[in-house]
C-alpha cells in the first residue's frame, strides 16, 4: 500500500468501505434526534439528550483505547483474560460514575454547577444519563473484543455488528417514540440497546485468521504495534480522543448560559447530527495518510483525491444548507416547530466548512501518526479545544439568540486553527521526512469517531 502511483481507482477501492462504515456509525445521531423531535416536549428532550450524551461521551471515550491495547497485547502473545478483566473493571467504574451523576447529588454538581443546566433540561438530562449509564461498561467490553478480532484479522464481524447496532437503535427509537410520550430517555435507551447488541455480537464472535488486515472505521483503534513505547506514543492520541468528546460538553455548557438554553442546545444538537452525518465520508482520512502516504508524491496524490472527496461532500452539505432545500428536508426529518427549524437552518451553512476542515485535520493527524509524531496531534487537539472555548465565550453575548450558530461557529473555528497548526508543523517536521525517504509502516490510528 505504499506505491506512490495512487490512482483514483485505488484510492476509491481503499477508502469506500471506510466511508461507508463511517456513514453507518454517524447515522445514529440523526436517527435519535429525529425520534426525539417527536416527543411531547421536543426542545427539552433534545437539549437534555445533548447534555447527557456529551457527558457520557467524555466518560466512555477513554475506553475506546481498549481495542488498541487488547490487539497489541494479544499480538505480543499475552493472554486475553487479564486484559479483558482490566478494561471491564475500568468500564464498570466509569458506568458507576455515570450512575452517580444520574442518581446522586453528583449530578447536581456536574449539570447545574459545572454545565449551568437547570429546570426541565436538567431533569431530562439526568433521566437520559440513567439510561446511558451502562454505555462505558459496554464500550469497554466491546473494545477489548474488537481488539481480539482485529488481532485475529477478523474485521468483517466488527462492521457487521456496527450495522446491527444502527438497525437495533433505529428500531428501538421508533418503537419508543410510537409507544410513549418520548423524551431524552428515548435517545439514551435506544443508544444503549444498540450498543448492547453490538457488544454481544462482537463478544460472541470467535477470532481466527481468516482474512487480510484492513482498517476499520470504528470508534476505537486498530492494530497495535509491538512494545511498551505504545503507551508513550498513544497517550497524546488518547488525549486527542478525549478532547474531541469534550467539545460538545464545553459548547453545551456555554449554550446553557444563553437566554433560551433549551432551544439553543436542541438546535445545536440537531445541526451537529445532520452535519456530522453528511461529513462522515471524510472522517477516516487518517487511514489514507497512514496507509497510502510514504513519500511526497504519494502525499500529493492522496491529498488530491482527499480534497476532491472533501469538496464533493462540502458541496453536498451546501446544497442541503440552501434555504429552499433545507426547510423541506428538516421538516420531513424533524418534527419541530418553525422557530426551532429556523434556528437549525441558520447554522447549517456554517457547517458546510466541516468536511474541509475535518478532512484536513484527519489527513494531517494521520500523517503525524505515520511519522511517529503523535505529540503534535495532542497539541493540536488542545489548541482546538482552547479556541472552541474562547470563541464560544467571546461570541456568547452577540450570538445569545442564535445558539446553534454560536456552537457551529466555535467548532469550526477550533477545527480551522487546529488545521493551520497541524499544517505548519507538518511542513517543518513531516515533509522533510517524506522527501527524504519512504516511511516505515505505522499502524496506530486512534479513531475518535464523529459520533457514538
Amino acid at each position: 500500500m505504499t506505491d506512490s502511483s495512487l490512482t483514483l481507482d485505488r484510492f476509491a477501492r481503499f477508502y469506500a468501505p471506510l466511508a461507508a462504515t463511517s456513514l453507518l456509525l454517524t447515522a445514529t445521531n440523526p436517527l435519535l434526534t429525529s425520534a426525539m423531535s417527536r416527543s411531547v416536549n421536543p426542545a427539552t428532550a433534545l437539549a437534555g439528550f445533548g447534555v447527557a450524551f456529551s457527558l457520557c461521551g467524555v466518560l466512555y471515550s477513554p475506553l475506546l483505547v481498549g481495542q488498541q491495547v487488547a490487539a497489541t497485547k494479544l499480538l505480543s502473545g499475552r493472554p486475553f483474560g487479564p486484559v479483558q478483566g482490566f478494561w471491564i473493571r475500568v468500564g464498570l467504574l466509569f458506568s458507576l460514575l455515570a450512575m452517580a451523576a444520574a442518581f446522586t447529588p453528583l449530578g447536581e454538581w456536574i449539570f447545574r454547577g459545572g454545565m449551568g443546566v437547570s429546570g426541565d433540561i436538567f431533569d431530562e438530562a439526568r433521566l437520559a444519563l440513567a439510561f446511558l449509564a451502562p454505555v462505558p461498561l459496554l464500550t469497554a467490553v466491546r473494545a477489548v473484543h474488537q481488539g481480539r478480532l482485529v488481532a485475529g484479522h477478523r474485521t468483517n464481524p466488527i462492521a457487521l455488528a456496527t450495522g446491527f447496532r444502527t438497525g437495533v437503535l433505529a428500531a428501538v427509537a421508533v418503537a419508543l417514540t410510537v409507544l410513549t410520550r418520548g423524551g431524552a430517555w428515548v435517545g439514551g435507551a435506544a443508544f444503549t440497546m444498540g450498543l448492547l447488541v453490538e457488544t454481544v455480537m462482537v463478544a460472541a464472535t470467535r477470532a481466527g485468521s481468516d482474512g487480510a488486515y484492513h482498517p476499520v472505521a470504528a470508534e476505537g483503534v486498530e492494530m497495535g504495534a509491538q512494545d511498551d513505547r505504545m503507551l508513550r506514543f498513544s497517550t497524546p492520541l488518547m488525549v486527542n480522543v478525549l478532547l474531541w468528546w469534550s467539545t460538545p460538553l464545553l459548547i453545551n455548557s456555554v449554550l446553557a448560559r444563553t437566554p433560551f438554553p433549551a432551544e439553543a442546545i436542541a438546535a445545536f444538537v440537531v445541526v451537529e447530527a445532520v452535519a456530522w452525518f453528511l461529513t462522515a465520508p471524510v472522517g477516516q482520512f487518517q487511514h489514507v495518510s497512514i496507509a497510502l502516504v510514504d513519500r511526497k508524491e504519494a502525499h500529493r496524490s492522496a491529498q488530491r483525491w482527499s480534497v476532491l472527496l472533501a469538496g464533493a461532500v462540502a458541496v453536498a452539505l451546501a446544497v442541503v444548507a440552501v434555504p429552499t432545500v433545507r426547510m423541506p428536508v428538516l421538516r420531513a426529518v424533524f418534527d419541530l416547530d418553525p422557530g426551532l427549524l429556523s434556528d437549525i437552518g441558520a447554522a447549517l451553512p456554517l457547517a458546510v466548512s466541516y468536511p474541509l476542515l475535518y478532512g484536513h485535520r484527519q489527513y494531517y493527524q494521520g500523517l503525524f501518526i505515520r511519522c511517529g509524531r503523535s505529540d503534535a496531534v495532542g497539541w493540536g487537539a488542545a489548541l482546538r479545544v482552547a479556541i472552541v472555548l474562547a470563541v464560544a465565550l467571546v461570541a456568547l453575548a452577540p450570538l445569545s439568540h442564535a445558539g446553534a450558530v454560536l456552537g457551529v461557529l466555535s467548532a469550526a473555528a477550533g477545527l480551522a486553527v487546529e488545521g493551520l497548526f497541524l499544517e505548519r508543523v507538518a511542513r517543518r517536521q513531516v515533509m522533510p521526512m517524506l522527501a527524504a525517504a519512504k516511511l516505515g509502516k505505522q499502524e496506530l490510528p486512534v479513531g475518535e469517531g464523529v459520533t457514538s
Binding site: 416536549n41 410520550r181 444548507a321 418553525p338 422557530g339 429556523s342 451553512p349 466548512s353 474541509l356 476542515l357
Partner: protein, 226 residues
C-alpha cells in the same frame, strides 16, 4: 488542487449561503421584518404582542377573539397585552381563567398572567409572570430584558394546579395575582400557592397574559380589581 485553494472557494460559497440563509426561511430575522409582520398580523383590535425572541415570526402566534374569550395558538412563546391596560399605583388583583385545549399528557409548556409590564416594545422590557402547566406545576419569574430570574425554585408541583385527566383533554385553571402593600400573592383555583415580597419584582405597569411554545390556550374572564 490543495486544501488551501479548495478552502478559499468553499469559503466564498459559504459566504453566499450564509447571506442566503439570512433571508430564506420565511421567519423574521431582523427587527424590520418582524415589525412588518407584526403590523400585518391578525391580533384582535387593541392588543399587542411581544415575542421572547426577535427572530421568531409573529404570524406563528395566532390570536382570535371569540364568544368564549381569546384563543391563543403558539408557535413561539410571548406575551399578549393591551398597552392601555395597566395599573400604575396601589393594590390590585388581576385574574383570568386559562384553558389549555387538547393538552397532550405530560406537556410541559406554561401559560398564565403577566403583571408590571414596562418597556415592552424595547430591549429593556420588564415584567413579572405567574404560569402553570399541564403537569401540575407552577412557576413565578421576573423578566429583565432577555433574561429571566426564577422567584420560585423552578417549576413547583402543586395540588392546586389541575392536570389533564386524559390524553388531549382540556384543562382549566383560574389564576390570580394580588398586590397588597409590599406583598404579592399568587393563587391557582382559589388556593394561594405563593406569597413573596414585592421588592425586586416588577409590579406596576401593563397587565397581560403569557403563552409559551406550541400551545392552544383559551383565556377568558380576564379582570382587574383595584
Amino acid at each position: 488542487m490543495s486544501w488551501q485553494a479548495t478552502s478559499r472557494r468553499l469559503s466564498l460559497l459559504l459566504a453566499c449561503l450564509a447571506a442566503a440563509s439570512a433571508c430564506g426561511d420565511g421567519a423574521g430575522r431582523d427587527g424590520s421584518e418582524r415589525r412588518e409582520t407584526r403590523s400585518g398580523s391578525s391580533l384582535p383590535e387593541g392588543f399587542a404582542l411581544r415575542l421572547d425572541r426577535p427572530n421568531r415570526d409573529p404570524a406563528d402566534f395566532r390570536v382570535t377573539n371569540g364568544e368564549r374569550g381569546l384563543e391563543v395558538r403558539t408557535g413561539p412563546s410571548g406575551i399578549l397585552y393591551r398597552p392601555d391596560q395597566s395599573v400604575d399605583v396601589g393594590d390590585f388583583t388581576v385574574s383570568a381563567t386559562f384553558t389549555e385545549l387538547g393538552a397532550p399528557m405530560g406537556h410541559r409548556e406554561g401559560f398564565g398572567l403577566v403583571i408590571g409590564g414596562q418597556g415592552l416594545e424595547g430591549p429593556d422590557q420588564r415584567y413579572t409572570y405567574f404560569l402553570v402547566r399541564a403537569d401540575g406545576r407552577y412557576v413565578i419569574k421576573n423578566r429583565v430584558g432577555p433574561w429571566t430570574e426564577e422567584i420560585t425554585d423552578g417549576w413547583v408541583p402543586s395540588e392546586a394546579v389541575r392536570v389533564a385527566a386524559m390524553e388531549d383533554g382540556d384543562i382549566s385553571n383560574d389564576l390570580s395575582v394580588s398586590v397588597v402593600g409590599d406583598r404579592v400573592r399568587f393563587s391557582c383555583n382559589g388556593a394561594e400557592v405563593a406569597e413573596v415580597p414585592a421588592a425586586g419584582l416588577s409590579i406596576h405597569g401593563v397587565l397581560g397574559v403569557r403563552v409559551n411554545h406550541n400551545l392552544v390556550v383559551r383565556v377568558d374572564r380576564f379582570r382587574v380589581d383595584r
